[in-house]
C-alpha cells in the first residue's frame, strides 16, 4: 500500500508498504530516518518515541497505515520543531544575550553542539553528560521535549513520571535528570 504523511514538516510518501509494517519500520527503512531506535519493538523501552499529531507514541506500536494524513515529528526534526515553537511564543530573534554569554569555543574536533542548531533539550543532554551509548537518547529527547512543553517547571517526580516509559541501560538516569533540569532552567531563564 501507499502511505502519505508529514514527517518533520515535509510531506512524505512511502510505497510498497506491507500492511504489517510499523511506523518505525517505514521511518527507518523506507524514509531514511533511522534516528528513532528499534530496541524492543514491543512498546516497552521508548527508544522509538516520536510525536504523532503532537502526542508521544512508541512508533513500533503504530501501524504505518495509521499515520496516513497525520503529522510525525522524529528526533531528526526536533531542533526545527523546538525552534518553531520558540518562534510561536515570540522568541526567535537570533541569539539571546544569555546564550551569547554562555558561548564558549571548543576544539573543532569536538562535535559537541557548535556548528549545529540543536533543540535546548538536545544541547542539555550533551552538556550534562546524559549521553553514553546514546541508543535511548532519541526517544528520551522526544519525550522530555514534550514534557517540558506541557510542564516548563517540572519537579523531579514529574520528570521521572514523564520519562518512565523510556529505558536507559548506561546512565542510571541521574545525568538524564540533570539534563532535563538544565533544559528547564535554561528555558525559564532564557525566554
Amino acid at each position: 500500500m501507499r502511505v502519505n504523511f508529514t514527517v518533520n514538516g515535509r510531506p512524505q510518501e512511502a510505497d510498497d508498504v506491507w500492511e504489517g509494517e510499523s511506523l518505525l519500520y517505514v521511518l527507518r527503512e523506507r524514509l531514511g530516518l533511522p534516528g528513532s531506535k528499534n530496541a524492543c519493538e514491543q512498546g516497552e523501552c521508548g527508544s522509538c518515541t516520536v510525536r504523532l499529531d503532537g502526542v508521544p507514541v512508541c512508533s513500533c506500536l503504530v501501524a504505518a497505515g495509521q499515520a496516513q494524513g497525520r503529522e510525525v515529528v522524529t528526533v531528526e526534526g526536533l531542533a526545527d520543531f523546538a525552534k518553531q515553537r520558540a518562534c510561536g511564543t515570540g522568541s526567535c530573534g537570533g541569539t539571546s544575550l544569555d546564550e551569547a554569554k554562555r558561548w564558549e569555543a571548543d576544539g573543532t574536533d569536538s562535535q559537541t553542539g557548535e556548528g549545529t542548531e540543536l533543540a535546548p533539550i538536545q544541547q542539555a543532554f550533551i552538556d550534562a553528560g546524559a549521553v553514553q551509548c546514546g541508543f535511548c537518547t532519541p526517544g528520551l529527547l522526544v519525550a522530555a521535549d514534550e514534557m517540558l512543553e506541557r510542564n516548563p517547571n517540572p519537579t523531579d517526580a514529574d520528570i521521572r513520571e514523564a520519562l518512565s516509559g523510556n529505558l536507559c541501560r548506561c546512565t542510571g538516569y541521574e545525568k538524564i535528570m540533570d539534563a532535563v533540569r538544565l533544559a528547564a532552567a535554561r528555558q525559564s531563564e532564557g525566554v
Binding site: 506491507w18 504489517g20 509494517e21 527507518r28 531514511g32 530516518l33 533511522p34 534516528g35 531506535k37 528499534n38 530496541a39 524492543c40 519493538e41 514491543q42 516497552e44 523501552c45 527508544s47 522524529t74 528526533v75 531528526e76 531542533a79 571548543d106 576544539g107 573543532t108 574536533d109 569536538s110 562535535q111 559537541t112 553542539g113 549545529t116 540543536l118 544541547q123 543532554f125 550533551i126 552538556d127 553528560g129 549521553v131 553514553q132 551509548c133 546514546g134 541508543f135 535511548c136 537518547t137 532519541p138 517526580a157 520528570i159 521521572r160 513520571e161 518512565s164 516509559g165 529505558l167 536507559c168 541501560r169 548506561c170 546512565t171 542510571g172 538516569y173 541521574e174 545525568k175 535528570m177
Partner: protein, 794 residues
C-alpha cells in the same frame, strides 16, 4: 609519574585546553542527539538482503532431520543455509574453547541455539521463510544444575572434550575448576569465637544493552567481505570469523559501527558469521538485526551462581578464616566461563584480610542458556555472598557492620589469597567511612501538603500505599574487582598517532581499534592526545581492523590499556617532533639541547615557559606517525591446585550505602538512595567517571530487586525473553546516586588511573539487600528479591 596514594600531577600539556582531568564533552554527542549517529542496526545498502536465524525451540535434543525445501521455494528468499552448507572444516568458534557450532550439527544444547539461516529481500519474508524450515528433534534429558550435571548417568553436554581444562576437572560437565588454598582454614577455625555459614543464590542477569545485535556484511570483489558491526573487540571477532569463512584475516575487513551498549554481552560473536556466510553465498549485502526476543537468546548472560560460605571471627571482631564453594552455571557453551571461574575464586574473599582460606570455584556445562561476560565478571556473585556474611558476623558479634568491615579491611601491602601482594592504594576503610559520612536522605520524602506523592513510595503509580506499612532500612557494602585481563593473558593494545599541519594548525589523529560502546573512550583518547601533544585539534579515526588490536572493551581496561597505548604513542610522536625541532632550530637557541622541552598550546616550550618554536614551523609539511603496541605489567596463571600466582594487574574498589523503603505488607521495595564512594586513581574525565559509577550502580540495583532471566528447571527453556517480562529499572525505580570520588594514584598505571567501570556494579547489589534485611529483619539469601520473598508467600 605520581607516587602511590598521592593525586597525579601533570606537567606536559597542563596548559593545553581540553586535556586530561577536564570534563570535556563527547565527540559523538551531536550525532547522538540528532539521530545521525550510525548504529549497527542503522546500516543500509542498495540491494541489501535481510538475514534471519532459525533457533531451536527445545533445550537439548538430537536433530533427526532438517527440511529447507519449502523455505527455499518462497518468493523473495535468496538463500537458506544449515550446518551442511558451511564452507570449511572450521565449524565451531569460541572465545577460549572453540565449542560453539556456527550452526547446530546433529544436536542442540540450549533453547534458542541457531539451526539455520535465511536471506530474503524483506525482513518479514525472511522470518516467515525461517518458520517454514522443518526441524525434527528427538528430545534428550536436560542438565540444569550441579546434581544433574555430575550424576553417575549424566549425559555429557560435550562429548570428546579435548580442551586444555579437561585434564584438571573432576567431571566432563565441569568447564573449569579453580581451587585456592592458603594457610590452614581448619586450624584457624579453632581460633574463631563465632562461625557463620550461608548458602546464597544469585540469579541469571541479562546485559540488556538497548542496541540489538546487528550488522551489515558486504561481499567484496576480491572475494572477501566488509563487515560493519557492533562488538566489544574487533580483532577477537576477526580471529573467530575468518577461519569459518575460509578467508585470510586481511580479506575480512571489519569496521566498528555505532554500539548501543555492551556490558559484556558483545564479547562473544552473535550474528557476525551468519551475516558473512549469507553475503558470500548470495553475493549481496546482508543485514541482520535481532529483535529483543532474539537478543535474549543471541548473547550470553551473567552466570547464575550457588555460593556456600563459612567465615569465622574472634570476639574482638577479627576474621579468622574463610571457606567457600562457588558453583557457576556456564550453560551449554564455555564462552568466558574459565576466566569467570578465575575471578570468582581469586576475589571470593573480598577486600578483606584473611590469611587462612579454602576456596573452590567451578563452572558447569548444562543445557541452560550459555553464560559468559557481564560487567563485574565473577566478582559480582562473590561480593553478594561475602557481604551478606559480613553483616551476619557483625550482627552475631554485636558490632556495627561498617566498623566490622573497616577492622578487617585490606590495605596496600595486604597479601591476596593467591599470594599476590596488593601494591597500590586500597582505601577500603576510607571508602566505607566516606560513604557512611554522606548526609542521609530525609525521612518520609513522599509526604507533602497535598498528601502522599505515590511516585516516591513503594508500588509507585500503582497507588498501593500512602505510607502504611512502609519501613525504612539502610545497608552497606564494599567490593573488589580486578582491572584488565588476568592469569597471564597477553593483554596489550595498539595505537597509531599522527601529527601534521592541516590548514595552518597542528592536528593529531588517533587511530585505534578500541570499541567505543558508550563508555567514553573516544573522549578520553582526544584528551590524552591534547595533553601529550599540546594541541587542541584531535581527530579520532573510526575503529577498524586496519590498525593493530586494542583488546576488549571489558574488564574496566580500555582507559588503562588503550589509553596507555595512546599515551605511549603520543610520547613517541612528541620525541620525534622534538628531534625534528632540534635538527631544524637547535643551532639558534641552546635551550633546544639543554632544557626539558614540552609541547603546549601548539608550541614547543621549555619547562620554564619560554617559547622556542611553533609546532607549525617544526613540522612544516612533514607528518610524524607512530603505531605501537603497549602492555601493562605481565600477570601469571593461577596454580591449578593451590591457586597461587600473581594473576591480576590492578584492583578497583567501590563502597555503597543503600537506603530503601519497603512496603512490608505487599513486599514492594523502593530504593530511595544509593550513595557510592569509589577510588578512581585519576579521573581523566570526571563527568564520564561519575556517569560510569552511576550506571554501574543501577545495574547492580537491577539484579537486587527485579532483573532475572527465569529458566524452567524441567525444560531448560527461557520463560521471560522480553522487556515485558524481564524487568529493567526505569527512571521511576531509580534513586538518587550521590558519588564521592577519591583519586589515589596507582604508580604502575598511566596517570595513576584505575579502571572504574565494574566496581560500582559489585557493591550496589549487596548494599540494597542489606538495606532490605535491615528494614524487614528477613534473612534473604537470594537475589533478586521479589515480593513473595518479603511476604513469606514464595
Amino acid at each position: 609519574m605520581a607516587a602511590n596514594g598521592a593525586p597525579t600531577k601533570i606537567t606536559q600539556g597542563s596548559q593545553t585546553k581540553g586535556g586530561i582531568g577536564e570534563s570535556t564533552l563527547r565527540p559523538d554527542g551531536t550525532l547522538k542527539v540528532t539521530g545521525e549517529f550510525a548504529y549497527s542496526s542503522d546500516m543500509w545498502h542498495e540491494d541489501m538482503l535481510w538475514g534471519q536465524i532459525l533457533r531451536s525451540t527445545v533445550a537439548h535434543a538430537e536433530i533427526v532431520s532438517i527440511d529447507t525445501g519449502e523455505a527455499l521455494a518462497m518468493p523473495g528468499v535468496y538463500a537458506v543455509m544449515t550446518y551442511d552448507d558451511l564452507p570449511t572444516d572450521v565449524r565451531n568458534y569460541g572465545l577460549e574453547i572453540q565449542d560453539t557450532p556456527v550452526l547446530a550439527h546433529g544436536k542442540v544444547r540450549h533453547h534458542g541455539e541457531p539451526v539455520a539461516i535465511v536471506a530474503a529481500d524483506h525482513p518479514e519474508t525472511a522470518r516467515r521463510a525461517a518458520a517454514k524450515i522443518k526441524v525434527e528433534y528427538r528430545e534428550l534429558p536436560v542438565i540444569t544444575d550441579e546434581a544433574s550435571a555430575t550424576a553417575p548417568d549424566a549425559i555429557l553436554v560435550h562429548e570428546n572434550r579435548d580442551d586444555h581444562h579437561i585434564g584438571h576437572v573432576p567431571h566432563p560437565n565441569i568447564v573449569h575448576r579453580q581451587p585456592i588454598v592458603r594457610g590452614n582454614a581448619d586450624e584457624a577455625a579453632k581460633r574463631a569465637d563465632v562461625i557463620v555459614k550461608g548458602e546464597y543464590y544469585f540469579g541469571m542477569q541479562d546485559q540488556a544493552f538497548l542496541g540489538p545485535e546487528s550488522g551489515l556484511a558486504v561481499p567484496a570483489e576480491d572475494g572477501g567481505v566488509d563487515l560493519y558491526i557492533a562488538t566489544q573487540w574487533l580483532h577477537s571477532d576477526l580471529r573467530q570469523i575468518a577461519p569459518v569463512l575460509g578467508l585470510p584475516e586481511d580479506k575480512v575487513r571489519m569496521t566498528l559501527s555505532g554500539v548501543g551498549g555492551a556490558f559484556g554481552g558483545r564479547e562473544d560473536l552473535s550474528m557476525q558469521i551468519h551475516a558473512c556466510l549469507l553475503a558470500l553465498r548470495t553475493g549481496k549485502p546482508v543485514k541482520i538485526v535481532y529483535n529483543r526476543f532474539e537478543s535474549f537468546f543471541g548473547h550470553v548472560h551473567r552466570h547464575p551462581a550457588k555460593l556456600h560460605y563459612e567465615h569465622g571471627a574472634t570476639k574482638d571482631g577479627k576474621l579468622t578464616h574463610m571457606k567457600c564453594r562457588i558453583v557457576l552455571d556456564g550453560g551449554a557453551y564455555a564462552s568466558a566461563s574459565p576466566a569467570v571461574v578465575g575471578n570468582a575464586s581469586s576475589l571470593s574473599v573480598g577486600p578483606y584480610v584473611i590469611d587462612d582460606v579454602d576456596i573452590e570455584a567451578i563452572a558447569l556445562y548444562s543445557n541452560n542458556p550459555p553464560c559468559g561476560a557481564m560487567r563485574g565478571f565473577g566478582a559480582v556473585q562473590a561480593c553478594f555472598a561475602y557481604e551478606a556474611q559480613m553483616d551476619k558476623l557483625a550482627k552475631k558479634l554485636g558490632m556495627d557492620p561498617v566498623e566490622f568491615r573497616q577492622l578487617n579491611a585490606m590495605e596496600q601491602g595486604t597479601i591476596m589469597p593467591t599470594g599476590q601482594p596488593v601494591d597500590s592504594p586500597a582505601p577500603v576503610a576510607e571508602l566505607l567511612r566516606r560513604v557512611k559520612a554522606m548526609p542521609m536522605p530525609p525521612e518520609r520524602q513522599w509526604e507533602s501538603s497535598e498528601g502522599a506523592d505515590v511516585r516516591q513510595l513503594p508500588g509507585g503509580l500503582s497507588n498501593t500505599t500512602h505510607g502504611e506499612g512502609v519501613v525504612r532500612g539502610v545497608g552497606y557494602a564494599v567490593g573488589i574487582k580486578n582491572v584488565g585481563f588476568s592469569e597471564g593473558f597477553d593483554d596489550y593494545s595498539t595505537a597509531k598517532v599522527r601529527m601534521e599541519v592541516i590548514n595552518g594548525e597542528p592536528v593529531a589523529t588517533v587511530h585505534t581499534a578500541m570499541a567505543e560502546v558508550g563508555q567514553g573512550g573516544v573522549t578520553v583518547h582526544a584528551q590524552i592526545a591534547r595533553t601529550e601533544l599540546g594541541v587542541t585539534q584531535v581527530t579520532i579515526h573510526p575503529a577498524d581492523t586496519q590498525v593493530g588490536s586494542a583488546g576488549s572493551t571489558s574488564a574496566s581496561r580500555q582507559t588503562y590499556v588503550t589509553g596507555g597505548a595512546v599515551k605511549n604513542a603520543c610520547e613517541l610522536v612528541r620525541e620525534k617532533v622534538l628531534e625534528i625541532g632540534r635538527r631544524k632550530f637547535g643551532s639558534y637557541h641552546p635551550a633546544w639541547a639543554t632544557a626539558e622541552l614540552l609541547l603546549e598550546g601548539g608550541k614547543v616550550v621549555t619547562d620554564g615557559g619560554e617559547v622556542l618554536s611553533d609546532l607549525v614551523d617544526v613540522l612544516g609539511d612533514e607528518a610524524v606517525e607512530v603505531e605501537e603496541e603497549w602492555r601493562h605489567r605481565p600477570t601469571e596463571a593461577f596454580d591449578l591446585r593451590t591457586g597461587q600466582g600473581n594473576g591480576h594487574v590492578q584492583y578497583s574498589f567501590a563502597a555503597h550505602r543503600a537506603v530503601v523503603e519497603v512496603d512490608t505488607e505487599l513486599g514492594l521495595v523502593k530504593v530511595i538512595e544509593l550513595a557510592c564512594a569509589q577510588d578512581v586513581g585519576k579521573a581523566l574525565n570526571p563527568l564520564s567517571v561519575i556517569g560510569q559509577i552511576q550506571g554501574g550502580t543501577i545495574q547492580g540495583m537491577g539484579i537486587a530487586v527485579m532483573e532475572e532471566i527465569v529458566v524452567d528447571p524441567r525444560t531448560a527453556k527461557v520463560r521471560n525473553p522480553s522487556f515485558t517480562d524481564y524487568l529493567l529499572p526505569t527512571i521511576l525505580d531509580t534513586p538518587t546516586i550521590p558519588v564521592d570520588v577519591l583519586e589515589l594514584a596507582d604508580e604502575h598505571a598511566p596517570y595513576g588511573l584505575r579502571g572504574i567501570g565494574e566496581a560500582p556494579t559489585l557493591s550496589s547489589t549487596p548494599a540494597v539487600l542489606a538495606a532490605i534485611r535491615n528494614a524487614t529483619g528477613l534473612a534473604l539469601d537470594r537475589t533478586p528479591v521479589r515480593p513473595e520473598h518479603l511476604t513469606g508467600t514464595a
